[in-house]
Amino acid sequence: MIGIRDLEFAYSDSDFRLRIAELSVAPATTTAFIGPSGSGKTTLLNLIAGILLPDRGTVETNGTVVTGLSDRERRAFRVEGVGLVFQEFELLEYLTVLDNILLPYRINPVLRLEPDVRDRAAGLAERVGIADKLDRLPRRLSQGERQRAAVCRAVLTDPPLLLTDEPTGNLDPVNREKVLDILFDYVHESGTTLVSVTHDHEILERFEDVVDFRSFHAFGPSA
Amino acid sequence: MNARLVVLGGWFLLGLAACGGEDAADDETAGRETDVAASGPIVVYTVNYPLAYFAERIGGFDVDVRFPVPADEDPAYWNPTAEKIAAFQSADIVFLNGAGYAGWTEKASLPRSKLVNTSAGYSDRLIEADESLVHAHGPEGEHEHGTLAFTTWLDPTMAIDQARAIRDALAAQRPEAEARFDAAFTELESDLTELDAELMAAASALEGTPVIGSHPVYQYLASRYGIDLRSVHFEPDEAPSDAGWQELREMQQERAAPVMLWEAEPMPATRGRLAQEFEITSIVFSPCANTPDVDDYMSVMRANAQRLSAIAD
């Protein structure tokens, strides 16, 4: 699913540099990226998703050489083929839960909001237990409910790759387990590849693979 | 040959001149008709018949004279409907008699700029009607003025002044026809002067003879011709009341008058009683305030003069 070769990346305004000679993630697997803060975990997620471009090397995701795409192509690739879940949920405060879930279909012309999409969104919401909250604004949901809504948004396009960045970082233990259950049930059913950034060692056993970023040549204050 | 040519030429020239003259006359008539046709006749309303007569005499085809008071009503006391007042409002000129005649005009909404008071020029010669009862509010309160006698047209010299006021108003309204109005007025003035002479002659024969008026409408006649006149309140078509006869009796005791002037033919019973009990001869002197059944103002007034003359004889 993911293939990285001779990758080098540095932010222009800091000393941090990420260097990965080789990394691969098999399709339909679950992989955790662990490591201390500042070790480049989120940066690599962004590189895999095509949000950032490396200074050198190649990133191939789901058969597409992301590093060879234009900006527009990368966005199109991302909106259709990559589901993203963030630590802070990143729901838009002025949209209802349903509209937040449908968001990818409204922000890129490659996707068309058809009636079956709405049905799928409602189905996902039902599955994660927030079907009765679809017409509410995010501020009226609990933390766990918000993250579940964010998960629905991420998987609505049925992406082959799901990238989550500290998905349970802001959740209490009960909700953490609920969200993880939802994620893992989903990926096992759908055959989606899951890559998750985490620094929570207690959840590592759930993942099939673990990539420790301390093994990479990363330079910077925490390297 | 030459002489014949000269005579023919002469006849030819004369013919031309004659045709030219006729054309000139036709032109003048056509010109007049064009004037009127272009702007239409002046619409004139009057409050009594004599003014209507004067306006027609003076205005001719330049005026459309309208006098809408019904024939059986006294124009002095007529109360027009709102529709009739609206008709007056639409006139080009409204001729008023003055002297308080036609009280309805005081309570109607009439356009001031169209009103012409035909007595305005001689208001100092107006006569106060005696015996009128006036009222006041409070000892120092507003007084109502005494009423004026208003049958001004019974004095031909005043009638001339009224006619003059009509001529002036028509000429102001249509200056291009002033010459026509002048000519017509002069003719009317001549007729009225003749009438004045006839009445003067008839009245002079009555000199010194007391006269009674059946109604107080002959003040201007009396004033002009020096007639010793006092009045009662008898109606020609009604039998006088007992109080009325008593008033007459008292009046006759003070000064016995052999003649009574009537606005119209009195009832035979009244005429008879006047003759027998009071030795009073009744004669009709019509004030002609409304349109006569036959004839016109001038004929009616001449007939009045003749009847007055006959009595004197």
Partner: protein
């Protein structure tokens, strides 16, 4: 609705109070200078055209502005009166047609205009229904007056007392409405028009009562002196003129001394106008004014004030624009995280820009639309509203 349009709409609805405040502020700063200008120009045009249509005005010495405002716009300040004979004097010159006015009394808030029938033709007033007044005690109403008083042809209006405390003062007169005029978009629309004699009856200069000479009126007789019957205070006066009692109505005193607030003089031509003005030049007991000149002076002051107000509004407007710009910039900054999220999950730059910019575009568009609407309303109804506010 397209994707970003929908998202933009939801954003605006969520921030509706902020949006409303921004729209209100922008609308006002856009509308105020324009609207004020439109209002002032329109009002002045109306006032000017009315003044230009009134060639000359004769009145008592005093403020020409007060004379013009009362005579043309029926303002509630009543100037000193002149005797009615001044109207006859104008007629007597042969230089102008006089139209006397007596504008003093009211039927509730509507001015009673006492005048003569020439007034209707002079002002070009047409009847919508009914007829013009024919006799004392009748009235014709302007279109707005009829609406305000809620009366129709055949109904009645009653003149209002000048002061509720003046119990010995003017008696209210009940007048029959004979007609209603077509809307003319002039102060005549608000007027109750009567013959000037009817206004004198309201004043108390004329009245009707039982004939004191008749036996039935004995209770009202104080005493008799010769042929004068003196009535006492119990004589009841009629408060309405009807066909049954009109004969009893009469005036006490000399009508040529009765009051008028002004006389409109319509000269025959320019030369006559100049001659007539020359006759009243010394202005000791009477003045003659040209309403167009009076209004021009008054409006000159108004335009000066308008310029200052517009300048002030422009400065305030600039400050408001700057503040609005600041609000937009802060809003954009506040939404930077939203922009980042949208970009991360694959939003196109066009969609993101459209979404961010939609707030500004919508607020501007709505403000412009509302400002245009308010300007149209000002041009359509502003003059009327201004008249109502100013009390003209």
């Amino acid at each position: 609705m397209s994707g970003t349009s929908y998202l933009a709409w939801r954003y605006l609805v969520f921030h509706r109070w902020k949006t409303a405040v921004l729209v209100t502020a922008l609308t006002l700063i856009l509308f105020l200078p324009i609207g004020l200008r439109v209002l002032v120009r329109q009002s002045s045009e109306q006032l000017t055209s009315r003044a230009e249509a009134t060639p000359l005005l004769v009145g008592a010495p005093g403020s020409p502005t007060e004379l013009v405002l009362n005579s043309l716009y029926f303002g509630s300040d009543v100037p000193a009166t002149i005797p009615y004979t001044e109207s006859e004097l104008v007629a007597g010159t042969g230089l102008a047609t006089p139209i006397p006015l007596y504008v003093r009394y009211r039927v509730r808030d509507q001015p009673i205009v006492g005048t003569t029938p020439e007034y209707y033709g002079f002002r070009g007033l047409e009847l919508a229904n009914g007829r013009l007044p024919a006799i004392l005690g009748e009235a014709v109403l302007g279109a707005a007056a009829a609406r305000a008083l809620d009366v129709g042809v055949g109904e009645h209006v009653i003149s209002s007392p000048e002061s509720v405390f003046d119990i010995a003062g003017v008696y209210p007169l009940r007048m029959q409405v004979t007609g209603i005029l077509e809307f003319s978009d002039t102060p005549d629309d608000d007027a109750v028009l009567v013959d000037i004699k009817t206004a004198w009856v309201i004043e108390g200069l004329g009245h009707g009562h039982q004939d004191l000479a008749r036996p039935e009126a004995a209770a009202g007789v104080l005493r008799r002196e010769g042929n004068v019957v003196i009535g006492n205070a119990s004589v009841m006066q009629y408060n309405e003129i009807t066909p049954e009692n009109i004969d009893s109505f009469h005036f006490h005193g000399d009508p040529s001394a009765f009051p008028a607030t002004a006389v409109i003089a319509v000269p025959t031509d320019d030369k006559a106008s100049a001659l007539l003005q020359g006759r009243y030049q010394d202005g000791a007991s009477i003045q003659i004014v040209r309403p167009d000149a009076v209004m021009a002076e008054l409006l000159g002051t108004v335009f000066t004030v308008e310029r200052y107000v517009v300048a002030g509004a422009a400065i305030v407007g600039l400050a408001t624009l700057a503040t609005t710009l600041l609000v937009f910039l802060l809003s954009l900054r506040q939404r930077s995280r939203e922009r980042e999220t949208l970009s991360k999950i694959g939003g196109s730059p066009g969609a993101i820009t459209a979404l961010m910019g939609s707030e500004i575009v919508f607020v501007l568009a709505l403000s412009l639309t509302l400002a245009a609407l308010l300007t149209w309303l000002a041009s359509r109804y502003g003059a009327e509203a201004a008249r109502a506010v100013v009390g003209l």
